[in-house]
């Protein structure tokens, strides 16, 4: 239950990390607000409506979007569905195991889902076919291929990139029946939410932690912002705390870092 990171960091390595952090440096040479190199490839899975393979340092995740006709939630008859899931595949690390998702995987999926949902990235009203009866359901499923730290952001960027490049089937209603026209249309995108995960090690807050840094961190916070600089979703994690000043400080980092990554994702996906 109380599962600590599986990565073991030797005492000397930890001491080295702390010494470097005191000087504002990190083991891999990055600055505290610097992300690892990121590569995004889209349309890697032709059978999916949209897909993206994201490599963020050693972390690698793949996201696929599938769209199908479904029933709306009874309390939201005039909205389509958006469901995000995430799975850490057994091939992703020596410590990942097959079986139902554990609490870490559930948290990962729910935090990513919350950012996409609360930012209202997709205009779900445009996915309604017959109000209260038939809507389009957008499934964004992510598989973690290699665990290398900061799964939250890698997963989130993969979902966002896959959604931005997705094409959904154009359906028509004829005599109360749903007919697939065989054509595709653009997914109705309203916002581009970007999550930024920060780890606190001692008094230092660093962006995009590696596995090693996550093993040494006191606490982390994942903050998702939209292009207007609004906070859409936050999740604090880890068994430590943040001071009130730190919590107030990280929002500025999340917004500025978010802008940088949003520009990158937009240029890669060709969306604006």
């Amino acid at each position: 239950m109380s599962k600590k990171s599986n990565v073991i960091v030797e005492h000397l390595r930890r001491a080295q990390m702390n010494d470097l952090l005191a000087a504002g440096k990190r083991l891999d040479g990055r600055g505290v607000t610097e992300s690892r190199p990121m590569k995004i490839e889209t349309d890697v899975i032709k059978k999916a409506n949209g897909s993206a393979l994201v490599t963020l340092g050693n972390t690698q995740v793949i996201a696929g979007v599938k769209v199908q006709v479904d029933k709306p939630f009874p309390e939201l008859p005039d909205k389509g569905l958006l469901i995000c899931s995430a799975e850490v595949l057994p091939l992703a690390s020596a410590y990942a195991e097959p079986g139902p998702p554990d609490e870490d995987a559930i948290e990962l999926a729910r935090v990513v889902d919350r950012g996409i949902r609360e930012s209202e990235m997709i205009d779900l009203k445009k996915l309604v076919l017959i109000p209260g009866e038939k809507v389009l359901a957008v499934f964004a499923d992510v598989s973690v291929l290699n665990v290398g730290g900061n799964l939250f952001d890698a997963t989130s960027y993969a979902v966002v990139s896959a959604l931005l490049t997705s094409k959904i089937p154009k359906m028509e209603v004829k005599d109360g029946k749903i007919v697939d026209t065989g054509k595709l249309m653009e997914t109705p995108i309203d916002a581009v939410p970007i999550s930024v995960t920060m780890a606190r090690i001692g008094d230092t807050i660093l962006v995009d932690p590696t596995s090693e840094e996550e093993a040494c961190m006191d606490a982390r916070v994942t903050m998702t912002t939209d292009a207007e600089g609004r906070v859409c979703a936050v999740q604090k994690g880890g068994t430590g705390t943040f001071s009130v000043e730190q919590i107030n400080h990280v929002v500025a980092t999340a917004i500025s870092k978010g802008e940088e990554i949003r520009a990158k994702i937009k240029s890669v996906t060709g969306s604006g």
Partner: protein, 246 residues
């Protein structure tokens, strides 16, 4: 899209009659379960939650035991009858996530290295839910842990703030949670001035975010006074003045 009805009237009064910075009526009772090592019953408005703490005790399964500290395990669970539509009693993904963030919120307050090779189990049962049940559960669990005599660095107070009708309000209820614009549950260690739980869903500008955090922390400080009073009442009777309460 979320503005179906007006949740705050012209006088600044909310649907349940509260002002924007007012908590719901809170009731905390300590030591309500005979078998548990520590327990508490807590109400935040219509939230009714019972918490039991068992431990420090032997760890089962044994491989979970840690050589240098106790293992904290938390279970947040909603009774099937606690909400409008019957809830399937099997733990949902939401409950698994809340159990995890609850553990993360409580752990910084506990001196777990005082109890190596043991487990401390915290069971939070939501008997009736009314928006803000995770905060209510954390506030109750903290009192139950103190009642169990677990060594603690601080109490964990918890309370949510949110944005409703473009206004930042304290302690949002079920209706405000569903129809409001944002929700920010916070757990706060009042003497250490540290935040141990923070989640947000809904859109907030940077200024609103900071105001929301301040509002929630003010609420947590009030909750803390009530937690202290409840513990004092159990252990010292009614007469003792806790001090600092408003």
């Amino acid at each position: 899209m979320k503005r179906l009805s007006k949740l705050i009237n012209e006088q600044g009064i909310r649907t349940d009659g509260r002002k924007v910075n007012e908590l719901r009526p809170i009731k905390i009772e300590v030591g309500v379960l005979k078998n548990a090592d520590g327990s508490a019953y807590i109400e935040f408005g219509k939230n009714k939650i019972i918490v039991a703490v068992y431990g420090p005790k032997e760890v089962h399964p044994k491989h979970m035991a840690l050589p240098d500290r106790s293992v904290l395990r938390c279970r947040y669970h909603m009774s099937p009858f606690s909400v409008q539509e019957r809830k399937n009693p099997a733990p949902s993904r939401r409950e698994i996530e809340i159990s995890k963030v609850t553990r993360d919120a409580l752990e910084p307050a506990l001196m777990l290295d005082d109890y190596p090779r043991t487990a401390i189990d915290v069971y939070i049962e939501v008997l009736q839910a009314d928006g803000g049940s995770r905060c209510t559960g954390i506030a109750g669990a903290s009192v139950a842990l103190a009642d169990a005599g677990i060594n603690m660095r601080d109490m964990v107070a918890a309370c949510a703030a949110g944005k409703v009708d473009d206004t930042i309000v304290l302690d949002i209820n079920d209706e405000e949670d569903k129809e409001g614009q944002a929700d920010m549950p916070i757990a706060y260690l009042p003497n250490l001035n540290q935040v141990s739980l923070m989640q947000v869903d809904g859109k907030l500008s940077k200024e609103e975010y900071r105001k929301c955090l301040d509002t929630a922390i003010e609420g947590c400080k009030k909750v803390y006074q009530l937690q202290k009073e409840a513990l004092m009442k159990k252990y010292f009777g009614d007469e003792i003045d806790v001090g600092g309460s408003e």
